[in-house]
Symmetry: C2
Subunit: 138 residues, 2 copies
DNA sequence: CCTCATCGCTCAGCCTGCTGAGTACCAGGT
DNA sequence: ACCTGGTACTCAGCAGGCTGAGCGATGAGG
């Protein structure tokens, strides 16, 4: 039972995710980034956005995204300012430093993910888990 | 880019893991258990063990496992007591309540994992990510 | 028998998820 | 003009990952 191949698939999935995330974390730390911050920065490459939009796109709660953005702001990777036309919104934009950090991270993206036999079918299976949520969340 | 099928595989993996974990969390909360606690309880079905052993079997850090066990103890699912022959070790054992809770959780295990086309090939891919770690960690 | 490296564990602290509760703002209906 | 509902966000708090530092117990070597 202590052997991984006896584990239920859900546990296997979480563990695999942690392992991959961990590998990323080590690389990103050197760039002053985190796993979560990278996603936000990625989304911001298409232009400024509100926190709620970013949270929805990243599939996390608004509160989680807000905290991540707060960190990114503290580190100078993004700016956050109240929207002038709708004072409820906070407009988030990547700074030059943020964009540069993202580009650097992007460059090492490929060699972090461990090799698997059939990457396409793995992606496919994962999409079957993730996709349904998109429909019900919208 | 906001669409999941554009995402890098690593991000897909983390997101899928979170979704599945979340589904579990909802069910487990009703049994007074958590995702992490369930794993510990599972491992303890084979008898009492030290915290380091449990951590290694669950592929988490000792500190993480210790905190999880502390919670389980607080809730009455396990007991923790100093080993009499090696006073460094803490022997952890499942209580009756813990074993009962585990059995209840086990029963709903199957219907939580979302359906995918080819579960076996997904397991296989995940094992390719998880397994290498076992060899290098031992 | 004593010393010292190693082992098992605790404490402190950070980041990412989540929930629940509360605040400020916008917009629509009366 | 005024509620009223919904939207965007903040604050507080919990659980689970991780790292780094420190401490007592063990056990092997001199």
């Amino acid at each position: 039972m202590a052997d991984a191949d006896e584990w239920p698939t859900g546990r296997l999935l979480s563990t695999a995710a942690r392992i991959v995330e961990q590998a990323w974390t080590e690389r990103l730390a050197q760039l002053g980034l985190t796993h979560a911050g990278l996603i936000a920065l990625h989304l911001l490459q298409e232009g400024p956005a509100g926190q709620t939009d970013l949270a929805r796109a990243a599939r996390v709660q608004l509160q989680t995204m807000a905290r991540t953005l707060e960190r990114l702001e503290r580190l100078g990777h993004v700016t956050r300012q109240r929207d002038t036309v709708d004072a409820r919104r906070v407009l988030v934009a990547a700074t030059e430093a943020g964009t540069a950090a993202f580009a650097a991270a992007r460059a090492v993206e490929a060699d972090v993910f461990p090799p698997v036999e059939d990457p396409e079918s793995l992606r496919n299976a994962l999409l079957q888990i993730v996709q349904p949520r998109v429909a019900t969340t919208d």
